[in-house]
């Protein structure tokens, strides 16, 4: 009688939030951005493509920016993790290379660029984008640098935030202006900024 012990895996729906609808919205938003650009990313278009009612979107997301943030956070976690355990000089250098690849080649990179852009147009977006994406990531990146420095793997010449901005800024700027990022540029940046001046 106590029967089916702890959590029988219910294919639920109805009273609770519909997980299928949630995923359909996230994928529809991603796809629309990739296929037709940000200007085609309207709530109505997302609802249409996801086969979902507009109200279902508004019930769970205050704006299309939050939808994109949801996908970006998830994709970044999976495909652009920040080296955390005993980062080596190589793994840190690898992270910057991965960042360049993420921005340039991964569809999720386009989401990141779109959010950076939209943050310029709308203060609400800026706020959300910082709190939910930039700040947590920056914390991880700072940790990475701090641990790397503790272990003697790197010796940054600037304070942590300046170091990260100096490393990633050029990559982001190139992506924003439609240019590619050659590996040599990344290597030079890493060499310059993470090693002390030899003299």
């Amino acid at each position: 009688m106590s029967g089916a012990s702890s959590q029988p895996p219910r294919p639920r729906s109805g009273n609770r939030r519909d997980e299928a609808a949630r995923l359909a919205v996230l994928h529809a938003a991603d796809d629309l951005l990739a296929e037709h650009g940000f200007s085609a990313l309207t709530i109505e278009a997302i609802a249409r493509r996801a086969g979902v009612a507009k109200q279902t979107i508004y019930r769970w997301w205050p704006s299309k920016v939050e939808i994109l943030l949801d996908t970006l956070i998830e994709d970044s976690r999976k495909r652009l993790p920040v080296p955390a355990d005993n980062p080596t000089a190589d793994s840190i250098r690898g992270y910057v290379h991965d960042f360049a690849r993420f921005l340039g080649d991964d569809p999720a990179g386009k989401v990141l660029l779109a959010l950076i852009a939209q943050a310029q147009h709308d203060p609400g977006t800026a706020e959300s984008f910082h709190q939910r994406y930039l700040a947590p990531r920056r914390d991880q990146e700072r940790d990475m640098l701090a641990h790397g420095a503790e272990d003697g793997q790197i010796s940054p010449r600037l304070d942590p935030d300046a170091t990260i901005d100096a490393l990633l800024g050029p990559i982001v700027y190139r992506a924003l202006t439609g240019s590619s990022v050659p590996g040599s540029l990344v290597d030079t940046l890493v060499d310059d900024l993470l090693r002390p001046r030899p003299n």
Copy 2:
């Protein structure tokens, strides 16, 4: 003096383009962007504030982006000139500092950020922005570096475009993410990138 006695208030244009209307549109666009942000920058709002008919805007500008580009090009020419004649190490360093100030403090800096952003959302904007603003400026900046290197004022470690992106990228990225740019960061970037490795 002979003329305008009978009709007191409005000297209507006539056959030629009305310069007053042109300026009113540019200023209205600038002001709206500064006061209420890009989302309030609609053609209807510009027309309303400029006291101009919508058609007058559409006759002379294909989109609001071109209006902003007009103001940005003019303002950049005046307030952020690229050192051209015999640039010294100091004048080049000064230009990077000026660039940071322009982005951070000058209202026209907000226009530049808005255009970078809009270029992510709309390919037409990207195209126009490159051809009318980024490319010409980049040409001047390349010249500046080339002349500086010829004269022995600087010795860039990277190719010209990479050098400029590495210098300006962090500044732009900080502006895009709402941070300030300390002078020390600029100095470090300039020192690193425009001087050869000592060893």
Copy 3:
């Protein structure tokens, strides 16, 4: 026995139809109509005010019109009975006066007007309204006239349905157009229609 002791506030229904919920719905509908008009009489508002789930309403009533019909039928039975036993000329005249008062002053009169109105907009309402309210009442009114005529109390000059429509029509029309119904009008109508032409 397990008794209603442990749970203080809500004695949930259980297996049979919850009479308290039924009454709550009827009163909520009545109140909303009286307080905010027909346009505020939505199923969601009724459920909200009655503290009842929407599904509970849909389970027992096919539409909000049927809710109103339930209240109207009950209220009419109580507060506007048709004289049935040996109607006299006076009791018939009194009924017409009562009808005018019901439409003009009783909250239930507003329900009747709302249903007459809604019947114009929706054939389903018209059908229900006729079968459940108008036809049964008309039968009683016809009986009233027939018995009155048999007893020599009245001598209608028109056939029964025409008589009733000629008596009540002006009253309803005045109510629909927001006018009051003076007693003298009722008296004249009764005098004209229920007595034979003297000549």
Copy 4:
């Protein structure tokens, strides 16, 4: 001369109100009401069927009720004129017959019923309906009775408003409840109300 000289028939549009759009909206509203009833009479449906933008409707009419009022006023003027010049007993009787026919057979009669109904649901409609339709018509009907009485054509037994309500009320009530109005009923009402009691 009188001919088509003065006003060359311009098929205009543009800056001024588009007469074709106005008529398309009125006809679309009429048709939708006749074909699918009031519940199908949404602004979106009218716009769709008229081939007109929603905003064009909202620009000129505050609500769908005003659209119906426009059509009703026009149709009533054309097809149910109130006898004005030297009304005779016969022309007055004819008017009441025409009124019954209008309500029963003319599509515009359905518009009138729909507006009477909607006025019960919405105070704004009631207000508009009175000021724009009922009151002006009532004025004309009062004039008709007054002139008829002056000329000795009729001798109403009730005050003018009561007379009109007593005449038209039963007709309206029958129409509202889906019944037909036999000519004999009209004749009896007219005879009763417009001639003095013989005794």
